[in-house]
């Protein structure tokens, strides 16, 4: 796969078909629930005990490989502070996926997460894939939001749900993978609406990730 150019799918020579899809993913949630930590863990495998508060939004990319597809995530990690709330629509508009994060040790952040879900359902593209992440699961001793409660809410609203820990890396890659799997990657789905993956133009080649070597 390492030698296989990612543009292969568009070649008429009948080479192995590996689709490269690019998705826009946005992280939403109350301030200090661990959005940036989740992304940092996913993208760089790092964790900082004292992660600074995000200003505006952060942009990162990460590529994951599925069976027959390479998925490139364009990740928009938004700032959770209320004063940046008005910027959020700009980022989730046109996003194919969203991770709404809450802190399992803080009931308020769960309520805020529900509001984010509601807002996404109303304002974002109708086919957006929403995942709910209950972060800081390493602090289960101080748990304030029950797993079952969140699971029930997620089921009701058709959300992906996992409890994650950026500190221990628990479920971090899994939730991104689950999203990647759920995203429509067929060309038909891509053309139909905003939820579809964007095909890469020829000049825009994602780096082959290590898993595909």
């Amino acid at each position: 796969m390492a030698t296989n150019r990612s543009g292969a799918a568009q070649r008429p020579n009948g080479a192995p078909q590996t689709k490269v899809c690019q998705f826009k993913l946005v992280l939403l949630g109350e301030s200090a629930v661990g959005k940036s930590s989740l992304v940092l863990r996913f993208v760089k495998g790092q964790f900082h005990e004292y992660q600074e508060s995000t200003i505006g939004a952060a942009f990162l990319t990460q590529t994951v490989c599925l069976d027959d597809t390479t998925v490139k995530f364009e990740i928009w990690d938004t700032a959770g502070q209320e004063r940046y709330h008005s910027l959020a629509p700009m980022y989730y508009r046109g996003a194919q996926a969203a991770i709404v994060v809450y802190d399992i040790t803080n009931q308020d952040t769960f309520g805020r997460a529900k509001n984010w879900v509601k807002e996404l359902q109303r304002q974002a593209s109708p086919s957006i894939v929403i995942a709910l992440a209950g972060n800081k699961s390493d602090l289960a001793a101080k748990r304030m939001v029950e797993f079952e409660e969140a699971q029930a809410y997620a089921d009701e609203n058709g959300l992906l749900f996992m409890e994650t820990s950026a500190k221990t890396a628990m479920n971090v890659n899994d939730i991104f993978l689950a999203i990647a799997n759920k995203l429509p990657k067929s060309e038909g789905a891509g053309a139909a609406g905003a939820g579809g993956a964007r095909r890469l133009a020829d000049g825009e080649q994602p780096r082959p990730s290590s898993c595909c070597k």
């Binding site: 942009f59 046109g94 991104f176 993978l177």
Partner: protein, 440 residues
């Protein structure tokens, strides 16, 4: 699986489309709204089309191509009709509009007020000497220092020997002569003090530096606007002027009618204060007034107005009131006696008076005879001496009064005539008594 990307993490107020860091939330919002709002939707559909087109060109799949273009270009409404369409969020912007407008109006109002205050200071106590005046003007409005101004800020022409720098007398800014406008000082006075009667300056006379204030276009426009507002507030409608004219005619008619009645009565009483021709002239005058009132009220009634509106009703009411007034007060005048009747009345009166005089004279004769018997004939001589006394002051006065009466009559001042006639009568009586006493 997922590995660390070597790319640097971008953070800040990033544009979701072009990833530029805009430094602040508001800048980001405006950047996004101005550059990317529409782009987002268009971009997506274009990408679809181009992606398809590329694939199809490579695969030579015509049917698929056609279908894709159809779908992309049609923007079919049918797709949307299925969904329940809600009206969406709407909000009233009138409050915002009002806020913006009132701020704007307030700015103009305060600016105009400032200019008016300055104008007021300028025009009152303005020295007539040009040098003093210049100094006075600068005291009230500090003039801009023009040393660094090389071009006229209005027309951008360079100042030189022939194009001198001038100053707006209200804001102190610099301008050239061609860009200056002049406000006549008399006009300025009437703007500052609306109660003063506006002195009508000859319209064709050019307002120059001597008779006017040099202003820049901006100040001139503000002042001019203010003047127009003032004028429009004081302006009378055609209807109002017509009504006022009518009222003044009515005011003239009322004393005229009263006087006519008096004159008429005095004629019937056989008094000689007024002539028949006097009274007739008076009647003619009242008739003319009535005619004028009638004409004006008809004019008022015929002003165009929507039937049923208050204005329409008012106009009709004015006309009716005027017609009523003319009929009741001006045309129902007492008929004048004929010449013969007057003569008859006068004759009777004269005879009555004669008889009375006769009686008095007889009484006096008797008295005198009684006195003469006592005093002898000495009194006769005195009477002769006094009889041809032409420069008797009483006679002189009576002549003057007669002259006055004649003049007053010519000018239709019948009230004066009446007063003068009464005066004349008194004089006559006095003279009579004097004569009698002289005889005695």
């Amino acid at each position: 699986m997922a590995t660390a990307d070597e790319e640097k993490i971008l953070e800040g107020f990033l544009c979701p489309i072009c990833k530029a860091d805009l430094k602040s939330a508001s800048q980001l919002t405006s950047h996004f709204e101005s550059l990317h709002q529409e782009e987002q939707d268009v971009l997506r559909s274009l990408k679809d089309i181009f992606g398809k087109a590329k694939k199809i060109i490579l695969n030579n799949d015509d049917a698929d191509l056609k279908e894709t273009f159809d779908r992309a270009l049609k923007f079919s409404y049918a797709d949307y009709r299925d969904e329940e369409q809600s009206e969406g969020v709407s909000r009233s912007s009138s409050d915002y509009f009002k806020a913006v407008r009132s701020a704007r109006l307030e700015r103009y109002a305060t600016e105009t007020n400032k200019l008016l205050i300055r104008l007021d200071k300028l025009v009152c106590n303005m020295p007539s000497d040009p040098n003093q005046r210049k100094q006075y003007e600068q005291e009230i409005v500090p003039w801009l220092d023009g040393s660094s101004v090389k071009l006229c800020p209005n027309c951008a022409k360079a100042f030189n020997l022939t194009r001198r720098k001038h100053h707006c007398r209200l804001c102190g800014s610099i301008l050239c002569h061609d860009c200056s406008l002049f406000l006549d000082i008399n006009v300025a006075r009437s703007i500052v003090d609306p109660s003063a009667p506006p002195t009508a300056a000859p319209a064709d006379a050019e307002v120059t530096e001597k008779t006017g204030l040099r202003l820049c276009e901006h100040c001139y426009n503000l002042i001019e606007l203010r003047k127009q507002v003032q004028e429009s507030r004081n302006a009378k409608t055609v209807l109002m002027t017509a009504y006022e004219q009518m009222r003044s005619l009515m005011d003239q008619a009322r004393p005229a009618v009263a006087l006519y009645e008096k004159m008429c009565q005095s004629l019937f009483d056989g008094e000689t204060t007024y002539n028949l021709s006097d009274v007739n002239a008076m009647r003619g005058r009242i008739g003319k007034l009535a005619e004028g009132i009638d004409l004006l009220s008809k004019q008022i009634a015929s002003f165009p107005a929507e039937p049923g509106t208050r204005q329409f009703r008012l106009q009709n009411a004015i006309r009716q009131a005027a017609a009523h007034y003319i009929k009741e007060d001006l045309l129902s005048l007492r008929k004048l006696p004929t010449e013969a009747q007057i003569d008859e009345v006068r004759r009777q009166r004269y005879e009555r008076a004669e008889r009375q005089i006769q009686m008095e004279r007889q009484k006096m004769e008797k008295e005198r005879e009684r006195l003469e018997d006592l005093a002898g004939p000495s009194g006769r001589e005195r009477e002769v001496a006094n009889d041809n006394d032409d420069d008797n002051p009483l006679l002189e006065q009576m002549n003057i009064i007669r002259q006055y009466i004649k003049e007053a009559r010519e000018e239709f001042k019948f009230e004066e005539v009446a007063i003068l006639e009464a005066n004349l009568k008194e004089l006559k009586k006095e003279y009579h008594l004097q004569k009698l006493s002289n005889k005695c």
